[in-house]
Amino acid sequence: AEAVNPDVLKVSLVAPHQAIFTNKEVSQVNLPASSGEMGVLANHVPTVEELAPGVVEVIESSGTASKYFVSGGFASILPGSKLSISTVEAHPLDAFSSENIKSLLAEAQKNASSADETVAAEAAIEIEVLEALQAAVH
């Protein structure tokens, strides 16, 4: 195994279509865990968290922070300060337009009261994701 420095947090943020970070050394990562927001520093206790739709904030050692919106997934914190986040979709926050979110949200809210159970269930998921996204963009 490669020599690991446990005092530096190494993060991998991957979606099926692209790997945004691979083993990038950062100082802190904030995660939208389904049990609540959590911040991860180096030497965190190993765990696996399910992620809710929300913002992953990666703070580099230089202090610059980059924010990514993820649609839910898993974050596993491994021994040796290694954090891997796998999510279905991940995009930088500034790639979203707030008008688009608003119109999609309105449509989803309309569908949520549909008589068709599948449509209603899908709309409920859409609303959950879009509301989280709207809160994040503002």
């Binding site: 979606a15 099926p16 279509h17 765990t47 399910e50 898993f74 596993s76 491994l78 021994p79 891997s84």
Partner: protein, 269 residues
């Protein structure tokens, strides 16, 4: 053969060469995209395989219900891609004759139905035309989950080794129980109420299918490129051979006609 017969033969070989050459070019242009899709799905899978490696999760040695998912595609003309998977799956079935088989792709379905038709429980087609997406993989995983619980799930796929080589390989997919029984799971602090093993097992199945499809797609494209390259080369050789035969025969025909004419003319003297 007569001159006319050789001519038609030559023409048809030239047409075949055009087709195989075009297929080769198409496969070459798709290669880049296929490899990119494969690389990102590999990275995606590493996320949870790291966890399983640390927790030392393993599939049970003896399983009552085993499921084998054989991943290939619908289209042929790509060398031994499909028969390799079929061979590997049959070898697995030798060990576990009662295992259920799910096939992804028409080619592997046809091969499995021929020898183990009673094992095949579900098959998918229409995949593998383009690079696979997470959406496709999760739809397939959903359908597979409807089949019930299995103690052991194995995904058979063609691992992309290099541009000229692939090998049939296996991804294990872990059931919630085997995740819970992982020897080193205590290294992790898991929240009890979140049912992490269940969700992890679901995502790992989807992940395994996606990665298997992406690897299989890349292997298939590169195998097709090689197969078509060989076919074009062979067609080229045949074209040369037949061109020479055609010209020789044409000369022979002319010589014969000349002989006829000269004999006719000299008989008048």
């Amino acid at each position: 053969a007569t001159l006319r017969e050789i001519e038609t033969r030559l023409k048809s070989i030239k047409n075949i060469e055009k087709i195989t050459n075009t297929m080769k070019v198409v496969a070459s242009t798709r290669m880049g995209r296929a490899q990119r899709a494969m690389a990102s799905s590999r990275a995606f899978r590493e996320g949870d395989s790291d966890f399983f490696a640390t927790a030392e999760t393993s599939t049970p040695e003896t399983a009552e219900k085993t499921l084998i998912i054989a991943v290939s595609s619908d289209k042929g003309l790509c060398g031994s891609i499909h028969s390799q998977i079929a061979k590997a799956t049959r070898a697995k079935l030798q060990e576990t004759p009662n295992a259920d088989v799910v096939t992804i792709g028409d080619k592997i379905k046809a091969q499995m139905l021929r020898t183990h038709s009673s094992n095949v429980v579900l098959s998918f087609n229409g995949v593998g035309k383009e690079a696979p997406t997470f959406w496709e993989a999760s739809l397939i995983a959903d359908e597979i989950r409807k089949l019930g619980d299995y103690d052991k799930i194995e995904v058979m796929y063609n691992k992309f080794v290099s541009g000229v080589a692939f090998e049939p390989s296996v991804f294990p997919s872990f059931s919630p129980i085997s995740i819970e029984e992982s020897p080193k799971l205590s290294e992790f602090e898991l929240e009890e109420d979140q049912a992490i093993p269940t969700s992890l097992s679901q995502i790992s199945l989807t992940n395994a299918i996606l990665n298997a499809m992406a690897e299989g797609y890349a292997s298939e494209i590169s195998a097709r490129r090689n197969a078509m390259d060989n076919a074009s080369k062979n067609a080229g050789e045949m074209i040369n051979k037949y061109s020479i035969l055609y010209n020789r025969t044409r000369q022979a025909v002319i010589t014969n006609e000349l002989v006829d004419i000269i004999t006719g003319a000299s008989s008048l003297d």
